[in-house]
Subunit: 331 residues, 2 copies
């Protein structure tokens, strides 16, 4: 039966959004997609139940819609935090309040399907390598810009895990020694500048220093309400200050990327996530910064591209990793 399956459910448990879809192994967008807010006032336990219900509903929808070949072979789950892959357990996810949660077994029990659990950033990188902007490259570093900055590496067709299973974490590279405080407790991390909250903070700090901009008007004078999306909105509207704030974040990301590329030598870097949606306002300064004089043979050889699967890289990648790890499925 499994050998006949052409579908795998993918689940992406993000800090703000839960995404589920049924991924056709032959290609194409996830079917029966479902999206919900991760925040649940009932706590992390309720999120587990919600995820399982979303997967069941998506599997049922596809089963009803298809005539044959609609078996779903299993479930790939992209989860944040540190993992015990062999047992499918989330060891520690502070965002979700999960400590030692047997996520794989919970999903298997709720769906009656085999499941695997992999890190969310690794799944997104794998998704872009398998089906997106990283296709055809031998090695890919995927960077997800959002509330934080996550990263995952795909090498020779496999998620590259490193000694602790957490390789690819680019967000906490020091780009400004002794600089801005980061949520991790250190100072000057890339995440403190080029994540969504980092961009918002840069914008608010400059306005506090007297910069002229349409931003205060956009947030009705409450600078605490500025987000990366607000900055982007102002920049699209021609606001020079907001444009410069986005450009500075992009330049700092470029510095981090150049360092990572010289260390790791990937064939491609795929930049994913919310901030990446700013398009040329972000990727223009990023490319110009990468092109400046620097130690660069590896940088020159590396393609740096925006992701091609906005919103679905994690879902697609989680399904892809399920296919990879369970010999039963052939896509």
């Amino acid at each position: 039966m499994a050998l006949m399956a052409k579908l795998v459910a993918g689940v992406d448990i993000g800090g703000t959004t839960l995404s589920v879809g049924i991924v056709p192994l032959a290609g194409g967008r996830p079917r029966a997609p479902r999206v919900a807010d991760t925040v649940d006032e009932r706590g992390g336990e309720a999120v587990v139940g919600q995820v399982c219900a979303m997967v069941r509903a998506a599997v049922d929808e596809v089963a009803r819609a298809e005539v044959s070949g609609a078996e779903v072979a299993g479930v790939g789950v992209a989860a944040p935090g540190s993992l015990d892959r062999a047992r499918g357990v989330v060891l520690e996810s502070h965002n979700l309040g999960w400590f030692g949660l047997p996520l794989r077994d919970r999903v298997q029990a709720a769906t009656g399907l085999p499941a695997i659990v992999e890190n969310d950033a690794n799944c997104a990188a794998y998704g872009e390598w398998w089906r997106g902007a990283g296709r055809g490259f031998r090695s890919v570093l995927g960077i997800t810009l959002g509330t934080g900055i996550g990263g995952g590496i795909v090498m020779d067709g496999q998620p590259f895990l490193g000694a602790t299973g957490a390789a690819g974490e680019i967000g906490h590279m020091t780009v400004e020694f002794g600089g801005r405080r980061c949520t991790c407790g250190d100072r000057g991390c890339l995440e403190a500048y080029a994540s969504g909250p980092g961009i918002a903070r840069t914008a608010a700090e400059g306005l506090g220093g007297g910069a002229r901009s349409s931003l205060p008007e956009l947030v009705e004078g409450d600078l605490g309400r500025i987000t990366a999306a607000t900055v982007h909105e102002a920049a699209v509207g021609g606001d020079a200050y907001a444009t410069a704030v986005l450009a500075r974040a992009a330049r700092m990301l470029a510095a981090g990327i150049a360092g990572a590329v010289n260390l790791l030598g990937p064939d491609a870097v795929v930049v994913m996530g919310g901030v990446a949606a700013a398009g040329d306002l972000f990727f223009g300064p990023l490319a110009r910064e990468l092109g400046r004089p620097r130690f660069r043979s590896a940088v020159d050889a590396c393609a740096v591209v925006p992701g091609a699967l906005p919103g679905t890289a994690g879902v697609v990648g989680a399904a892809g990793v399920f296919r990879l790890r369970t010999g039963a499925v052939r896509g």
Copy 2:
């Protein structure tokens, strides 16, 4: 014959020093060691001749000294710059003025022995993994502190090369965005702060700003003569300013190491080279900085240790890579 060989010649062509030794595959220090200055007013071509003569002399010395089993199977050459490994050509080494130099063929012609060429930082990392402080670890990032900061990665018993063959380059990670100008043309690179010249510059700048120290006396008032060795000498003598300068370099290196470890997830980092010889004056602040609050699961899992093969890691590693790449030798 080759199957019987128990010896391989190792050559390390550094920016300041040429080192040659005959490496016993069974273990132990290189025999018939030879060291010379790299600088030759006759230019890079003379350096090639000198290297070949040193190898021939070392091979002859070992042959005279040994009764049997003294065949040298071949020559491993650690060379700086970018390489064409398949052809054994140094594509570009600005220090030596080598552009498209067929180093492997030159060494083979001069010695009558098969040869391979590998990057110097990769050889040093491989040497420490094979015979030094990295022994027994599955993956090692080797960092060489000297005139520059080089790096090499050993993964699953092989030099890890990356897409361009230059992976492991940690020296040009940005640790201070927009900071000090680096020789590569960029600003704020780790190398600009934690290399020997970087340390000397930090010391001289602070003295220019009025810091109190015994350093000016040590260099007879000529601050341009301050080197990392002078700073070390002053620190050993109890100079608080020199101690703080070394500590700052160590802390910036720690920031670079933490970033590299979170990205790559190696089991160990081996710190080699001149600056590393400063011992606790350097490794104390380095360890304390790594222990500070930061994003750290990979950092906690990674051993950070000084190299165990001072002066010979490159020679040993070059011989080891020869053994690895030529199936003919069994050590």
